[in-house]
Amino acid sequence: MEAVIRVRGLSKRFGDFTAVDQVDMSIPPHGVYGFLGPNGSGKTTAIRMMCGLLAPTAGEIEVLGMRIPEQTELIRRQVGYMTQKFSMYADLTILQNMEFMARIMGVRRAEQRGRIRELLQRFRLEPFSRRLAGALSGGQKRRLALAAAVIHQPRLLLLDEPTSEVDPNTRREFWDELFLMCESGTTVLVTTHLMDEAERCHHLAIINEGRKVADGSPEALKGQLGAGVFAIDGPQITAIRNHLEGVSQVLATTRIGLSLRVMLMPGVVDGLDWLREHLAGFTAGIEPAGATIEDVFVMATRENGAKGAGGAGR
C-alpha cells in the first residue's frame, strides 16, 4: 500500500543545534504510528515539518502524495493537526470554536451544523457546548481539540503529545476514539514520551537526539530486544543495585517498587546464570522478566549511557 507520509533525509537545524538529523521514514496508511522519544528529541519539530509549519533545512517530505512546501495549502485541507499546547480560543465557547474551525477549514455551509453536532455528541461535549473553552477540564479540552482537528474529515491526523497531561482514564477513552478513526480509514501519527501510549501504537519509531534509532511494531521491537531482562527482589536490592553499577555486562537498572529491574548487555549469554553467580553473596530472588517498550527504548538510546535510562520519561 502507498505510504501516507514519506520522508527522506529530513533535517532541521536551529542555529548550530540540530533538532532533526537525517531522518528517513515511511508511514503506512490505516494505523496509529507513534514517535517515541524523550523531551527535546525532535518529535515536535518533525511533526511540525510534516504539516508545513516549519521549513526543513534539508530533505524531502511527501504527505498524501503531495510535496511540502510546494503543495502545503492543499495538504492542510486533508490533514488534521492537534498541537501539544491547548490552542483553541479560551475566550470563545466550545460551539463558537467549532464553528470557527469549520469555516476556516472549508466545511460546506450546509454540512457545518450537522457535522459539529455529530462531533460534539461523539466526544461527549454537547452538554457544555456553550461553556467557554478556557473553563473546561484537561480531558474536555483534549476532546475539544481532537473534535476540531477532525472537523474536515482529514485523511491524516497528526497529534503532538495528545494525552501527556491527562489522567489514565481520559487517556484510554481518547485512544478508543483514535482506533475508531483508524477503522474508518484515517491514518494517525502521534508523538509521545509515555510508554503506555507507545504500547498501543501499531507501529513505532523511536527518536533520540533528532535521529531515528529504531522502528517496527511494539511486538517486533520487544521480540528483537537482544538483551535479557530480569526482576530481582529481596531485602538487599539497594546494595545489589550499587553492586551492579558500572559493571560492563549490565546495561541498565531500574527500581520499580520493591523490586529491581536489570537489563543486561546484548552480548551476555545465559544471563540468569551470570546474574546468580555475580550476586551469590546477596539474598535475592532472581527471575526472568518480559521485555517492555521501556526496555526497548533504553536499549535503543543506550549510546547516552546511564543518562538515557533516566531521560525516558515517566
Binding site: 504539516c51 485541507r77 498541537t83 476556516i104 477549514m105
Partner: protein, 370 residues
C-alpha cells in the same frame, strides 16, 4: 533579628530576579534608556510654544519703496515669513483656505497715504484663525509700530496693521481641539487594539493552530482589521455627536467627507498596529512600541503645538506620522470648509501608508512561523 535577615534575603532574591528579567528582555531594557533619551532630545528641541516663521503670503498692491519697507520690517519681527506673493486679496484667501498659507499681508494701493493721514490702518493682516495658538501670536502684530527712516517714538506712530481672523473669528479653542481629538483618539485605540491582536494569539498558542489551517496571511490580516474599522467609525460618530452637541462644531453638509477621511485614517492606523503586532514578541513589547509611535504623534503632529512653529527636521519627521496628515485634512474640512480635492497629497499619503503596512504585515507574518 534572624527573621529580619531572612526577609532581606528574600527581598534581595526577588530584586535579583527582576533585574535578570530586565536583562533577558532586551527590548524593555532598551526602552528604559531609549525612551528618555530619544524623546527628550526630540521633543526638547522641537516643542516650541514661541510661534515663529509662520508661512505667509504678501499682496503688495502699491509695489513701491514704502510697501517694500513695510513688508521687510514686518518680516524682521520673525513671526512671519513671506513664502508667496499673491496678486489679489482673493487669491491670498484662497491659498489660506487650502492650508498652504497661515496668514497674509494685504498692502492696499493707498497705503502710504493712509499712513501719512493716520486715520485708517496702513495694511491688513489676514490670519487663519483655525489654529488658535498661531492666531494668538499673529494678533500681537497689531501692536507693531512702523516708522520708516525715523527712530521709533511710540507716541506719534499710527497703527500700521489691522488683524482680521478668517476662520473661527470668535477664537473658540474647541473648534480647533475637537477635530484634533478625533485624530488622537483614533490613533490611540486603533493602534492599541491591533498591535496586540496577533501577539495575543501567539502568546496564547492559538497561532500554531491557525497556521496549520488553509487560511492565507493576507486573509488573516484583513479579517482581523475589518471589525476594528466598525469600532473606529463608531468612535468617530460618538466624537462628532458630542462635538456638535456640546461644542457646536460645524459639521453640517460635510459628514460624507469627514467619514471618508476618517475611514482612510482608521485603515492607516490599523495596518500600523498590525505591523507592530508582527514585530513584537509579547503584549508588553507591543505596548512599548505603541507608546513609541503614540508620543510623537501627540506632540509633533500639530495636535498640541503649532506645526508651523516647529523646526524643519521636526516637521519632516512629523510628515511620516499619519496623524499629521489627518489633522491637516480634518481641520481643513471642519474649520475652513476646504474641498477634499485640494487635499489629494495628504489623502494619498494615508492610503499609501495603509497599503504599505498591510503588505509588510502580511509578508512579515509569513516569515514568523518559527
Amino acid at each position: 533579628m534572624s527573621s529580619l535577615l531572612q526577609a532581606l534575603i528574600r527581598i534581595g532574591a526577588v530584586c535579583r530576579k527582576e533585574v535578570l528579567h530586565l536583562i533577558h528582555d532586551r527590548l524593555t531594557f532598551g526602552m528604559v534608556v531609549m525612551i528618555p533619551l530619544f524623546q527628550l532630545v526630540l521633543f526638547g528641541y522641537t516643542i516650541n510654544t514661541d510661534v515663529r516663521q509662520v508661512p505667509a503670503g504678501l499682496v503688495d498692491q502699491p509695489a513701491n519703496s514704502f510697501s517694500r519697507q513695510l513688508a521687510l520690517d514686518l518680516e524682521a519681527t520673525q513671526v512671519l515669513h513671506f513664502i508667496a506673493r499673491c496678486a489679489t486679496p482673493q487669491e491670498l484667501e484662497g491659498r489660506i483656505r487650502d492650508g498652504e498659507l497661515s496668514a497674509g499681508l494685504v498692502i492696499p494701493p493707498d497705503a502710504e497715504e493712509r499712513y501719512q493721514l493716520g486715520d485708517r490702518p496702513t495694511a491688513q493682516l489676514v490670519v487663519d484663525g483655525s489654529d488658535t495658538m498661531v492666531a494668538g501670536a499673529l494678533r500681537q502684530l497689531a501692536n507693531f509700530r512702523f516708522a520708516p527712516g525715523r527712530t521709533l517714538s511710540n507716541r506719534d506712530t499710527p497703527q500700521a496693521i489691522s488683524v482680521r481672523l478668517l476662520y473661527n473669528p470668535e477664537r473658540r479653542a474647541a473648534l480647533f481641539t475637537v477635530p484634533g481629538l478625533l485624530g488622537v483618539i483614533l490613533t490611540m485605540t486603533m493602534i492599541m487594539f491591533t498591535s496586540i491582536a496577533i501577539v495575543r494569539e501567539r502568546e496564547r498558542g492559538n497561532m500554531e493552530l491557525l497556521i496549520a489551517t488553509p487560511i492565507r496571511n493576507l486573509e488573516l490580516m484583513i479579517g482581523k482589521i475589518i471589525p476594528y474599522i466598525g469600532i473606529g467609525l463608531l468612535q468617530v460618530s460618538v466624537i462628532l455627536f458630542l462635538g456638535v452637541l456640546l461644542f457646536a462644531i460645524p459639521v453640517a453638509g460635510k459628514l460624507l467627507e469627514i467619514y471618508t477621511v476618517c475611514l482612510i485614517f482608521i485603515l492607516a492606523n490599523l495596518t500600523l498596529g498590525l505591523m507592530i503586532s508582527t514585530l513584537a514578541r509579547n503584549q508588553l513589547a507591543a505596548m512599548q512600541m505603541f507608546i513609541f509611535v503614540f508620543l510623537p504623534s501627540m506632540l509633533l503632529s500639530g495636535f498640541m503645538f503649532p506645526f508651523v512653529a516647529m523646526p524643519r527636521v521636526a516637521r519632516q519627521l512629523a510628515e511620516v506620522l499619519p496623524l499629521t496628515h489627518f489633522l491637516r485634512i480634518i481641520r481643513g474640512i471642519i474649520l475652513r470648509g476646504e474641498p477634499l480635492t485640494g487635499m489629494g497629497a495628504d489623502i494619498g499619503y494615508l492610503l499609501g501608508f495603509a497599503t504599505l503596512f498591510l503588505a509588510i504585515s502580511a509578508f512579515r507574518f509569513s516569515k514568523r512561523l518559527e
